[in-house]
């Protein structure tokens, strides 16, 4: 059979949304993994969130380079900004201040707080011979 020429002869670049969508999925994978971790009760540092977001943005950038388009470019900028916010959060916002309180072998200083039932709770309650785990958490909010 004879080879027929292509109908127009003008090559149209293939659509690149799959690459862009892969980037979006990669971006969303980080939070999804975090949700699973929370369900499993594992609360480690979620470095995977900004890392996967950055990889996702690279995918999106690749898509835009191969086939520029207004919506794709706007999407890239939005996701790149979100990625930047994620990095800012984990690198700056989430940092705890350096610890400067009592060290190992120091006595717990005097204090006064209350049990949940309203009774007084003081440092003397930690000196009754029984060891304690004393855990500070961020509260009900």
């Amino acid at each position: 059979m004879e080879n027929l020429p292509s109908n127009t002869g003008v090559s149209v670049p293939p659509r690149r949304w799959p690459l862009f969508l892969m980037g979006v999925l990669m971006f969303l994978l980080g939070p999804a993994i975090s949700v699973v971790q929370v369900i499993l009760g594992q609360l480690g540092m979620p470095w995977h969130v900004p890392v996967l977001a950055a990889v996702g943005v690279l995918f999106m950038a690749g898509s835009v380079l191969q086939r520029p388009g207004v919506w794709r470019s706007v999407g890239l900028v939005v996701f790149a900004l979100l990625c930047g916010l994620e990095w800012f959060f984990v690198l700056v916002v989430a940092k705890t201040p350096p610890y400067e309180g009592p060290q190992v072998s120091d006595k717990v200083p005097e204090f006064a707080a209350t049990y949940a039932d309203g009774r007084a709770f003081t440092n003397k309650d930690l000196e009754d011979g029984k060891p304690s785990v004393l855990l500070f958490y961020r509260g009900h909010w």
Binding site: V38, G41, Q42, L43, G44, M45, P46, V90, A94, K95, T96, P97, Y99, E100, G101, P102, Q103, V104, S105, D106, K107, V108, P109, E110, F111, A112, A113, T114, Y115, A116, D117, G118, F121, N123, L126, E127, D128, G129, K130, P131, S132, V133, L134, L135, F136, Y137, R138, G139, H140, W141
Partner: protein, 113 residues
């Protein structure tokens, strides 16, 4: 609050080691009472005036609701005489100590007792 659920689940392990688990937040007494109902095997403390948090210097300024001060997640092991024997402060507040690691620290701190 997630870490409290993990501790509650492991409370028998702490009981076995004769260690009580005291959890402290800046919540008022009413909120602490709700938390106590939810986690009956922990000892929930209301430190609304942040007296204990200031004594232990675990305040994180401006990171609570509405820019208020809150506790930086910090865990201490305190012996029966009131002395700090071990402490854990993550460098980021998203990190929590797992009950397994805490139990390992308890065992390591009071091994042979």
């Amino acid at each position: 609050m997630l870490e409290l659920g993990g501790l509650e689940k492991h409370h028998e392990e702490f009981d076995k080691r004769k260690v009580r688990v005291v959890v402290v937040s800046n919540d008022d007494q009413a909120s602490a009472a709700m938390t106590q109902t939810q986690f009956p095997d922990l000892i929930v403390i209301s430190d609304a005036q942040q007296n204990l948090a200031k004594a232990m210097r675990v305040i994180q300024h401006g990171m609570g609701p509405g820019g208020s001060d809150t506790n930086a997640p910090t865990t201490f092991l305190v012996d029966g005489a009131g002395y700090v024997r071990w402490l854990f402060r993550p460098d980021r507040f998203l990190v929590r100590l797992s009950p397994d690691k805490l139990l390992a620290a308890v065992d390591e701190t009071w091994k042979g007792n």
